[in-house]
Amino acid sequence: MPHIVNCEVLTHRELAPGQFRVALQGPAIASEAKAGQFGMIEVARGYYPFLRRPMCFERILADAFTVLYKLEGEGTRLLSAFLPGQMISVQGPLGNGFPIESNLTRHIIVAGGIGVATFPGLAEALIKVCDTAPEVVLAARTKDLLLCEQDFREMGCKVHLATDDGSAGEKAYASQVLERLSPAPGTRVYACGPMIMMRETSRVALEAGAECLVSLEAQMACGDGVCLGCVVESKHESEGERMIRVCCDGPVFDARMVDWEAHNFAYDP
């Protein structure tokens, strides 16, 4: 069940220009949170910005959790100004999170840009339950935007890097790297990043007979199933099921459920 908790900022560090990690003390949230879930963070005291900001839990500890984020606009700018010792209101845990199943032969994480923020916790959970470290494809526009490489390596994950400009790892898209890793039936691919990257990644995975889970993003007001603002179109035909809410039906969906044809990529953030 979600809670609204005033969390103390434990540490707050800029990892690379415009990319931050904040650790928040919040036992009520941390004790219930699962990898892939998120919190709604109140960044402003006043009304600009008015809404909370959705942020995934990067890692979940016994009584605290971390969030990895990149500067985007006013909300993340205000967030970046919080100092250790200050309190910040978080609503969570929200969303469904990743299912963790041990009966699959191979797990491949495909992260695009800041989409990586949801995966360190998933890797930890997979290691705990399945006893094998997932493989990780880390992709970003350029070298500076590749996050968590060291974290995954320390967990024992095999990491494949890719950048659009070739400044680190392969000059390739995440989906192309995945293709070369030859996913097959029995493989589960987990993707998070820009919508277009998730579409391509899921196409590669599904064509190879693998499973694919995607963690979607959408503009949110409530984060909790009420406002109906965060929907994406699903392949369900019926009027009542066509729109799926990213916040509470997801954010993690079976890629086969998402109607990629109907999605208008021109509007993506």
Partner: protein, 322 residues
């Protein structure tokens, strides 16, 4: 900060009377939640006891399930948000089957908000809600900016922009139900008094002011509108002064009570609406940020009454000093 702003009660021997009678609807306090910002109640019952509210207003219900508009449907703007949900809702059958029983069990006072394409659809909705005991009052949404009304010209147009239509719809729904009937009006008009008076003449027991203000936002990089629907409805603190003014305008000509809403976040905001002439208030978009904002408003209004030695909340209605 004074107690009435923070919601922390200051000690006073008198217990103020918060209860009201809103056009025939008995409410334990004047605070409800606005349609579309509180789901069907159950969602936010996880955060606080929703039966402590004066009433819960449901998402607009239609005869059939509606998927709503294409995404993106939401964009944040300064001190508020634009939405173009397009009345996605579970439909009346699922409401009666799955949503109303929960609210009844909780002892919630239910205002069922309804939406239809024509008067006969509103009539059927009101009849079924009354027959099944699934509402204590009806709020007819004649003001959704996000669905096209074929009867009117082009663009987003709303029944309540035309006073004659307000009268026609209100009269029809009135004849179909004995439940208290509130008409929800759009602020996108030249003179709010005209549709408000039309609702009164049609037999409404109250009007709900205001629905969202039409607006739009454009992405300057892509040159695209930020909403797939191009335009949407603006809500949140950004619209509060407009809403207060409309309530004040309408209160001076109406005999029936007003449910005031538009950007209410804390008790002081609600009191502003009461002073302007609203008998009841609804917390809308603020619930997205703070699910229990409405309960804090109830507590804050009570604290204000204590602090100012005002015996009943009705004493505040229209008590602006001009």
């Amino acid at each position: 900060m004074p107690g009435w702003l923070t919601g922390k009660p200051t000690i006073s021997p008198m217990t103020p009377d918060l209860s009201i009678n809103l056009g025939g609807l008995a409410m334990k306090n004047p605070v409800m939640v606005a349609s579309g910002t509180f789901g069907y109640g159950q969602e936010y019952d996880r955060y606080f006891d929703i039966s402590k509210l004066g009433a819960v207003c449901t998402k607009s219900l239609s005869l059939n399930v509606r998927a709503g508009n294409k995404p993106p449907r939401l964009v944040e703007t300064p001190a508020g948000l634009l939405n173009a949900i397009g009345l996605q809702n579970v439909g009346i059958d699922a409401y009666l089957r799955e949503k109303a029983p929960y609210l009844r069990k909780k002892g919630v006072t239910i205002v069922a908000n309804i939406y239809g394409h024509a008067p006969d659809e509103y009539v059927e909705l009101a009849r079924r809600l009354e027959a099944e005991g699934a509402a204590d009052a009806i709020e007819a949404n004649l003001s959704c900016p996000n669905v096209h009304n074929a009867k009117l010209a082009t663009g987003p147009s709303m029944v309540s922009q035309v006073p004659e239509q307000v009268a026609e719809y209100t009269t029809s729904i009135r004849s179909a139900t004995k439940l208290p009937l509130f008409i929800k009006l759009t602020p996108n008009v030249v003179n709010i008094c005209e549709p408000a008076l039309a609702a009164q003449e049609g037999g409404a027991n109250g009007v709900a002011l205001i629905n969202t203000l039409l607006g739009m936002a454009i992405d300057t990089e892509t040159r695209r509108p930020k909403l797939a629907n191009i335009v949407g409805g603006l809500s949140g603190p950004a619209i509060r002064p407009v809403a207060v003014k409309m309530v004040w305008d309408a209160a001076r000509v109406l005999k029936i009570p007003i449910i005031g809403m538009g950007g209410i976040c804390i008790a002081a905001d609600a009191i502003e609406f009461l002073l302007a002439g609203a008998s009841s208030v609804a917390v809308g978009s603020m619930s997205f940020r703070q699910p229990d904002a409405s309960l804090r408003v109830v507590e804050g209004v009570e604290a204000y009454l204590r602090q100012h030695g005002i015996p009943t909340v009705s004493d505040l209605v229209g008590a602006i000093r001009v």
